[in-house]
């Protein structure tokens, strides 16, 4: 692009002009948009599917809640094995040799045993079996606790989470602790206890959300609402409402190989990280787009601008 052309295009316009009331245009735009928005709000409202509570989960799917509680004690849940920023259980995903989350460390520590099960149980008055189980647990060393919880977790998994079919074994107080937490959740006391963790003020819902996500109930509910990432869930909304449609490109990558196959290495298994990098690069590309060769020439090659300035081109015989 020549300097002369840039100079002409940046200079104050010296050609024909027309009357244009900027303020009136703005006011009319606000009024029209407000009327349309108000009409749609009246006709369709907005999505508002009620939040999932632990009481709801424990009441609707007690076996799932019970099994998840056992997994939290055994450290075998999704959160238990997550890695940074919650714990050091795994290396997390990687970008080639870069394990960025691991590099930045455990900044948001989550101890699934104590934060999700033991501490909440100590905030309420428990029946004798649960109170005794708590005492037994707290009097034991970490290795014994882990053995009990892992044994029971494995036994429960073998019988498809059916407690009644679990054979006798070395489970320590784990069954009673899980039962105690189930009772607490069904009574509606667990939601607050998980959030507060024994404190008064708290605004961080991380522990509740992680625990909720470790079970099947929450995941099944999102699947039913088409919110899973594999079904464009990132840009979907509950009910028949438009969601974050502007995330279509972000969501798109999760639908295609290799990113839609979690077992493929190195990209599918680390899709979250690679897609974040791709979208970061594309966002940067959008910002500096006028500097990108070929792309910045497209408006000159594909002459859509002639439609925009159709009248001007006709009048000026261009």
């Amino acid at each position: 692009m020549s300097d002369r052309r840039a100079e002409l295009e940046s200079a104050p316009w010296g050609g024909r002009t027309r009357r244009y009331d900027l303020i009136k245009e703005g006011v009319v735009a606000v009024v029209i948009v407000a009327i349309v928005v108000a009409a749609l709000s009246t006709l369709f409202g907005s999505p508002d599917e009620k939040q999932v509570t632990f009481k709801e989960w424990a009441t609707a799917a007690p076996a799932d809640f019970y099994a998840t509680s056992v997994q939290e004690l055994a450290g075998s849940s999704g959160t238990g094995g997550y890695g940074a920023p919650y714990n050091k259980a795994s290396d997390g995903v990687n970008l080639g040799p870069l394990y960025l989350a691991k590099l930045l460390g455990v900044t948001h520590p989550v101890d699934t045993v104590n934060d999700f099960v033991i501490t909440p149980l100590t905030t309420v008055s428990n029946a004798a079996p649960v109170a005794d189980a708590l005492k037994t647990w707290q009097a034991s060393d970490a290795k014994t606790q882990s053995t009990w919880a892992t044994n029971y977790d494995n036994a429960l998994t073998k019988v498809n989470q059916d407690q009644a079919k679990v054979p006798a074994g070395n489970y320590g107080p784990v069954p009673e602790l899980a039962a105690g937490l189930l009772t607490m959740a069904q009574a509606g006391s667990l939601d607050g206890a998980l959030l507060s963790q024994g404190n008064y003020f708290q605004t961080d819902n991380t522990k509740q959300t992680l625990f909720l996500g470790d079970g099947s109930y929450f995941n099944d509910k999102s699947t039913a609402s088409n919110l899973q990432g594999s079904t464009w869930g990132m840009m979907n909304e509950t009910g028949r409402y438009p969601g974050q449609a502007w995330l279509w490109l972000y969501s798109f990558w999760y639908q295609i190989p290799p990113f839609n196959n979690g077992d493929s290495h190195p990209f599918g298994a680390n899709a979250d990280a690679w897609i974040m990098v791709i979208m970061g690069a594309l966002s940067l590309g959008l910002i500096i787009m006028p500097l990108i060769p070929i792309v910045n020439k497209l408006p000159y090659k594909i002459k859509i601008h002639r439609l925009v300035w159709k009248n001007y081109y006709q009048e000026e015989n261009l």
Partner: protein, 211 residues
């Protein structure tokens, strides 16, 4: 005070720069070049109109709180106004952005106008995302649970915690709107200062080029 001292003062530089680049006739013009005559030009002002509605309804929602917009008819209606304003905001903004792309609107030393516009778009996505996280309903629970993996995967999650409602609320109602507001203001002032980009072939004759 001597003239030379006056020139040294920052406030003097600012005033003179402002007067030179953005006199009030440019800021509030009553004419536009004849080529500014297409429906595509309406999408910029429509985006701003939607943004105004988003801010107004967002302030209302913030003052009243979650139990109000979940539990009362008026609250839910205001929540709906906010929701639909956001939907239209993005529709208008995307059309505006595409329009400006096909006009190659960065021409004539308007690169910064494009950059601020693109930054406003990317920043708006971040702001809307935090808004979806603080709806305090099932959708926001699920979005926070899923999105954490993306941010954690590249280490951003070590500080930007999507499951932390307090942090997301702060970002959504204060920090990000202020950033978007500043970027939008700069964008609009640049549009006024630089003027609306002329047609691609407007100066072909002067430059002796064929159409």
């Amino acid at each position: 005070m001597s003239t030379s001292t006056e020139k040294e003062m920052w406030v003097t530089k600012l005033r003179k720069g402002w007067q030179k680049n953005l006199p009030v006739e440019k800021l509030l013009p009553d004419t536009q070049p004849a080529y500014v005559a297409s429906w595509i030009y309406l999408f910029g002002v429509a985006t701003l109109a939607s943004l105004g509605l988003i801010i107004a309804t967002g302030l209302w929602l913030s003052f009243e709180g979650a139990s109000w917009y979940h539990g009362s008819n008026v609250g839910h209606f205001v929540n709906s106004l906010h929701f639909w304003s956001v939907q239209f905001f993005f529709v208008f903004m995307v059309v505006h952005l595409w329009g400006k792309f096909w006009m190659a609107a960065w021409r004539g030393r308007r690169m910064l106008t494009w950059i601020t516009g693109a930054l406003a778009f990317v920043g708006s996505i971040a702001t809307a995302f935090t808004g979806y996280l603080v709806q305090s309903n099932f959708d926001s629970q699920w979005i926070s649970y899923e999105a954490k993996d993306g941010f954690n995967s590249v280490g951003i999650g070590s500080r930007f915690t999507v499951t932390n409602f307090g942090q997301m609320l702060l970002l959504h109602v204060a920090f990000l709107p202020v950033i978007i507001g500043i970027i939008t203001l700069i964008h609009v002032l640049l549009v006024r200062a630089k003027g609306v980009v002329p047609p691609i072939d407007a100066f072909n004759k002067e430059l002796g080029e064929r159409k």
